[in-house]
């Protein structure tokens, strides 16, 4: 676990962790780069992921989209690799590669035959420090990102709605700014913006290497030392401190009309605490609350009451993801049946939430959810790439390996009282955004 990793002083200590269903080993290189190895020897395949502890919420004001734009540019060549050569080399070795950016992290990954891991490390290490961006490449890639925004956001009313709700949710915290960037800022990003961001944050002491698959931890350590070991850290890298939210004093509501939507719906998101290192109990209770309220389209409390008993909704759901560096949200949605207005749907949803708290929790339902959580541990071992992703997400949002290890047991130990207490604290409309996505004619 990261908080008790022995600093690798020439010889790194390997810490196997038998408490995990999967076999996990971790160590830290001299230059500060953390390494996690997850073994799965069933197929001769390996996944390499490099996660940077930087994302859209770390962007300078006015430069929205730069973290994601930079991610694209990392495929445009280095001092040693021509534009596109990275992916071509991965493909020529039978592998696939990609990358993704969120508010809290940026990650690059490849999936290849296990004996190609060294080459993948060599190339990934190269582009951690040696990126080269030409003006012409930058301009074309900016067009690509604008088309990405067209395709994924501007062409999708649900996506635009999400962007507006986020902006309303966070008055001060940069989670209110979309990862892809606001168009007017995206259009003006330049190579220097990207390079400044790159030089500061793309460094071994701000990165986590995760290797999952048919590998031996000793060999991974040796390869990591060879390829990543020589890279210079960024000196004086500051702790991640983002502007925080002021107290929310009033309910926030918004309506987005869009003729392109097929179905009007109402979505509410409450500001909620995230999983913190050593302090995940409330998050565990909120995770169970989301499952109980809206985790299943058939058996959850909202589905039972609103879809089956009262037949007000065609669909309901609730969700919570505690893996976030700063405050996250607890969300729920209701899609009313034809003939039921959004006003009526919202009133019914609020009534049902109040009744959930008043009624207490169905013990059998709660046990089924815990059973599925236990089984999830077994099924998870069958998908090592997803495991790697979960580790990366946790470790870049402020959690430690100890927190990851503790999580399944924490979920099992959540009591009905914990859930109700979390519900009473978090489900407060004065700390929420309620959004309506509406087909225009419904208002007429």
């Amino acid at each position: 676990m990261l908080n008790r990793i022995l600093k690798a002083l020439g010889v790194a200590a390997l810490l196997p962790m038998p408490a995990f269903a999967e076999t996990t080993t971790s160590f830290t290189l001299d230059n500060g780069m953390d390494v996690v190895v997850i073994e799965d020897h069933r197929a001769p395949v390996v996944v390499q992921m490099v996660w940077y502890k930087v994302g859209a919420a770390d962007e300078p004001a006015g430069k929205s989209g730069i973290a994601h734009f930079l991610e694209h540019l990392l495929f445009r060549g280095t001092e040693n690799l021509a534009p596109g050569e990275f992916s071509e080399t991965v493909a020529a070795n039978g592998g696939s590669d990609n990358a993704f950016t969120s508010w809290d992290y940026t990650a690059y990954h490849q999936r290849v035959a296990a004996d190609r891991l060294g080459l993948m490390m060599q190339m990934e290490a190269d582009r951690m420090r040696n990126l080269k961006i030409t003006e012409a490449d930058m301009l074309v890639e900016r067009d690509v990102v604008l088309e990405e925004r067209n395709q994924r956001t501007d062409s999708d009313p649900g996506s635009l709605f999400s962007e507006q709700r986020n902006a309303a949710q966070y008055l001060n915290h940069p989670y209110g700014v979309p990862v892809i960037g606001w168009r007017h800022e995206l259009e003006k990003l330049n190579a220097q913006d990207a390079l400044d961001f790159y030089q500061e944050y793309y460094a071994p002491n701000n990165a986590i290497l995760i290797v999952a698959g048919d590998v031996n931890p000793d060999e991974v350590l040796a390869m990591a030392q060879e390829h990543y070991g020589p890279l210079a850290p960024t000196e004086g890298l500051e702790a991640r401190v983002r502007p925080q939210e002021p107290p929310q004093l009033s309910e926030r509501r918004l309506t987005l009309e869009d003729p392109r939507i097929g179905q009007s719906y109402l979505l509410r998101s409450y500001l909620a605490p995230e999983r913190d290192a050593g302090d995940q109990k409330t998050a565990a209770a909120l995770t169970m609350l989301a499952e109980l309220l809206g985790g299943s389209p058939t058996t959850s409390y909202m589905a039972k009451r609103l879809q089956f008993d009262e037949q007000i909704a065609v669909y309901t759901s609730a969700w919570y993801n505690g893996m976030s560096y700063d405050d996250t949200t607890f969300g729920m949605v209701i899609v009313p049946v034809p003939g039921v207005s959004l006003d009526e749907a919202e009133t019914a949803m609020d009534r049902v939430l109040a009744e959930f708290i008043a009624d207490g929790i169905d013990a059998e339902h709660f046990e089924r959810i815990k059973m599925q959580s236990r089984a999830g541990q077994i099924y998870a071992d069958d998908d090592v790439a997803s495991l790697a992703r979960r580790y990366g997400q946790a470790l870049t949002t402020g959690l430690t390996l100890a927190d990851i290890e503790a999580w399944p047991e924490l979920l099992q130990s959540v009591t009905a009282e914990d859930v109700l207490e979390a519900a009473q604290t978090v489900l407060d409309r004065n700390r929420a955004v309620t959004g309506r996505l509406v087909k225009p004619e419904i208002l007429q």
């Binding site: 069933r42 197929a43 001769p44 395949v45 694209h72 495929f75 534009p83 596109g84 992916s87 071509e88 493909a91 020529a92 070795n93 039978g94 592998g95 696939s96 990609n98 290849v112 035959a113 301009l139 074309v140 890639e141 900016r142 067009d143 690509v144 604008l146 088309e147 990405e148 067209n150 395709q151 994924r152 501007d154 062409s155 003729p259 939507i261 097929g262 179905q263 299943s296 058939t298 058996t299 039972k304 879809q307 089956f308 065609v314 669909y315 899609v335 339902h365 089924r368 959810i369 059973m371 599925q372 236990r374 089984a375 999830g376 077994i378 099924y379 071992d381 069958d382 998908d383 790439a385």
Partner: protein
């Protein structure tokens, strides 16, 4: 950057190799149901994939959507369990079961723990053999389907694909969506669902793949219990249909800043001797992600799109080449020109030695990578059986890729690709088309 992935089924069997270590057993149950099995006892669960050939293409035009609705209703109650009781029972066992309707098959995917395998299979048997199809469940699920159909009417990608299918496959089930229309779905009654169930879920068309913590003997007994009471014979298969549309550009007016284009023309059968050259050629032309010519020309050099892909689509009753991308309304015309000219370049000049070598290295090197988990492997086992391949295919598949020559590709590209025959359907407000 989460590269563009098409939602169309581009899963080509020849891209699904099997690592040599995976030992497939051919199992026949006591009553004669055949299955392929890979035993994998290191994790205490099993993935089971069951497909029935035929699918939604078996239904009559006025019953369009019946198979889709029927499959969605299998998990909505059996015996004395209603939808909620069924879901609760499944959750208590921590099993997963999904039911899907495709154009050419219906399929059931299940995953269950070793510790409660018998209970999980008893539950699944009820869903497959004796679903209730309660009227309340029919009405509720029908409403969900109608809601999805309304959303599809506002999705430019769906609109473009629907027009493409209508033009390409007129008179055949492929011409219309297997999800049906507001009219056909609204008119479906319980007897329609029973009829399509008996026509599509029958023992004369079943294919089974199992991977996980189960022995051959256990699987045989399981299959007899699970499937033994299904009808012996199902409905007759539809006819083959030729790709019937002419080349050109069709526009579906839709108010959006970015147009979506789908395009294609006649293709090649999966069992054609030239399939492998065509497959390698398509990797180079448009299915290779960043390694493909179309991505290079349309995205990397000109920034005209976020993603473009092409696919060989050898369906059960038709075969075609298909592609799609999205571009701003003001850039769509240029993107289409680039696609046409790449089509012509490939048809006229084929590929270079280097391109062929890279494609072969990739396709053969990707060999072990598809087999990442019990579920995906079970899926592959079923796909292989449905395409009429035998277990030996695994040993020879890469040799078939390696045997492809530049000359093969040049000949096949010249026969297969025709820029003038390409039908483009563009949904949006493209300029200059």
């Amino acid at each position: 950057m989460i590269r563009f992935l098409s939602v169309i089924m581009a899963v080509l069997l020849s891209a699904l190799p099997l690592r040599a270590e995976i030992a497939i057993q051919q199992v026949t149950s006591p009553s004669g149901i055949k299955a392929w099995l890979v035993e994998e006892h290191s994790i205490p669960f099993t993935a089971l994939e069951i497909s029935f050939k035929g699918g939604a293409s078996l239904e009559a035009p006025e019953k369009r959507g019946a198979t889709n609705l029927m499959m969605a209703l299998l998990e909505e109650g059996t015996g004395d369990m209603d939808a909620r009781a069924f879901a609760a029972a499944r959750e208590a066992l921590a099993a997963s079961m999904s039911f899907d309707a495709g154009d050419d098959s219906v399929s059931i995917s299940a995953r269950f723990l070793s510790e409660n395998r018998d209970e999980a299979m008893a539950l699944l048997r009820g869903a497959i053999v004796a679903p209730n199809f309660d009227q309340t469940a029919i009405d509720r699920v029908r409403e969900q389907v109608l809601s999805n159909l309304r959303s599809d009417d506002q999705d430019p990608g769906k609109l473009a694909a629907a027009r493409f299918d209508a033009l390409a496959f007129a008179g055949h089930p492929y011409a219309t969506s297997r999800d049906g229309t507001q009219e056909t779905v609204s008119a479906l009654v319980r007897d329609d669902l029973i009829a399509v169930k008996n026509g599509s879920i029958a023992l004369d068309r079943v294919y089974v793949g199992a991977v996980g913590d189960i022995t051959a003997e256990e699987l045989g007994v399981l299959l007899d219990t699970l499937l033994g009471d299904l009808p012996a014979v199902g409905a007759s298969m539809p006819d083959h249909v030729d790709f019937g549309a002419n080349g050109g550009v069709e526009i579906v007016e839709f108010n959006t800043p970015q147009s979506v284009a789908v395009f294609g023309h006649a293709g090649i059968k999966r069992d054609d001797d030239d399939f492998f050259p065509a497959f390698v050629m398509n990797r180079i032309l448009g299915s290779g992600g960043f390694a493909s010519r179309l991505t290079e020309e349309v995205r990397e050099k000109r920034g005209l799109t976020y993603g473009i892909g092409t696919y060989l689509v050898p369906k059960e009753h038709a075969e075609f080449v298909f592609g799609q991308f999205a571009s701003s309304n003001d850039r769509m015309a240029e993107a289409i020109d680039v696609v046409r000219s790449e089509w012509a370049r490939m048809a006229q000049a084929g590929v270079t030695d280097q391109e062929l070598e890279d494609a072969v290295t990739y396709l053969t090197g990707a060999y072990p990578l598809r087999f990442d988990g019990n579920g995906p492997i079970a899926n592959i086992l079923v796909g292989m059986q449905m395409q009429g391949l035998d277990v030996d295919y695994i040993a020879t598949r890469n040799d078939k890729i390696r045997a492809v020559t530049r000359e093969d590709i040049a000949r096949v590209a010249a026969e297969l690709l025709d820029p003038d025959a390409l039908l483009f359907v563009v949904a949006g407000q493209p300029e200059g088309l």
